[in-house]
């Protein structure tokens, strides 16, 4: 079996994703469509929340991905800092726009859901606040990449920013537990005994979560391919200028 580190070679990565990307893209389209169509059209209203419960199929997967993408960026950044594999730094760069979009979807759907249920669009609740800070970290991360000309320096500095921002990624997930206050509830899905969500909602929710994960993977592969090409282009242009 091929070593994981072989994929740090841009050529090997491009060759593998040539066939992998269409497979993941189709899987993402099918699974996300099934999850969202099932959730929107074929789930009953909740006895307390009415039809707003249907927002869960967007809100939970998006919020989950917002945090997981930052964790993925953290792992990729650490690989860059320790082993200096360019593909890992470029993968972290490609993941950031997906992460910021997922965070924005989490914030917007949360506000739209919160208004009828809590009576307010926004509250300075620990989870909401840490999520907003995570959103700002995503923007800062993208801006930092755009601001630095040298790709290696950019990768170094954004990796450090990613490590710092990880505090807020962790806080976003566990804030409701750390501080038992605020409007936001604890985890909707838990392995702990005691069912919180009925299977009528849980089944399409799990499918949507897998779908959002696949959407991320498809965009990540496509984005990393673009970043590898952009890096090669930059190197060729520099060589041309020096010749």
């Amino acid at each position: 079996m091929a070593s994981f580190w072989e994929y740090a070679n841009p050529l090997k990565f491009m060759r593998t994703t040539d066939w992998l990307l269409p497979v993941v893209t189709w899987a993402a389209v099918i699974v996300t469509t099934v999850g969202l169509v099932w959730g929107f059209f074929f789930t009953p209203d909740d006895f307390r929340q009415g039809s707003t419960v249907k927002i869960i199929f967007l809100h939970v997967p998006a919020a989950m991905m917002a945090i997981n993408i930052w964790v993925m960026m953290l792992v990729a950044s650490l690989i860059w800092l320790i082993r200096r594999h360019h593909v890992s730094a470029l993968a972290a760069k490609a993941a950031a726009p997906i992460g910021v979009t997922m965070t924005l979807i989490g914030l917007i759907t949360g506000a739209v859901w919160g208004q009828p249920m809590w009576g307010t669009w926004w509250a300075w609740d620990p989870r909401l606040t840490s999520f907003l800070i995570l959103f700002l970290f995503y923007l800062g991360y993208i801006a930092l990449w755009a601001a630095i000309e040298d790709p290696d320096t950019g990768a170094d500095l954004t990796a450090v920013l990613c490590i710092v921002g990880s505090v807020f990624a962790v806080l976003s997930r566990y804030a409701a537990i750390f501080w038992s206050q605020g409007l936001h509830q604890g985890a909707s899905l838990s392995l702990a005994p005691g069912t919180r969500v009925d299977w009528a909602y849980k089944a399409p929710l799990y499918i949507s979560m897998v779908g959002f994960g696949l959407v991320f993977l498809a965009l990540l592969l496509a984005g990393t391919r673009t970043e590898i090409r952009a890096r090669r282009m930059k190197a060729l242009v520099t060589r041309e200028r020096m010749a």
Binding site: K54, H59, T109, Q115, A222
Partner: protein, 53 residues
């Protein structure tokens, strides 16, 4: 076909419209950027090939 969303129709529709719109924009941006970078790289590589004979 459209489910009866009752008094929360606006909120639920808004959540779906905004989320799917944002994902659509993201996909479009990735696709356009990929196409543009690929085209530019091809041009540079062609230029380089011509120069090297």
């Amino acid at each position: 076909m459209m489910p009866d969303l009752g008094r929360y129709a606006l909120e639920v529709s808004l959540a779906y419209a905004i989320s799917l719109g944002l994902i659509g924009l993201l996909v479009l941006w990735y696709w356009l950027r990929s196409r543009s970078v690929r085209r530019q790289l091809e041009e540079i590589e062609t230029r380089k090939g011509e120069r090297n004979g």
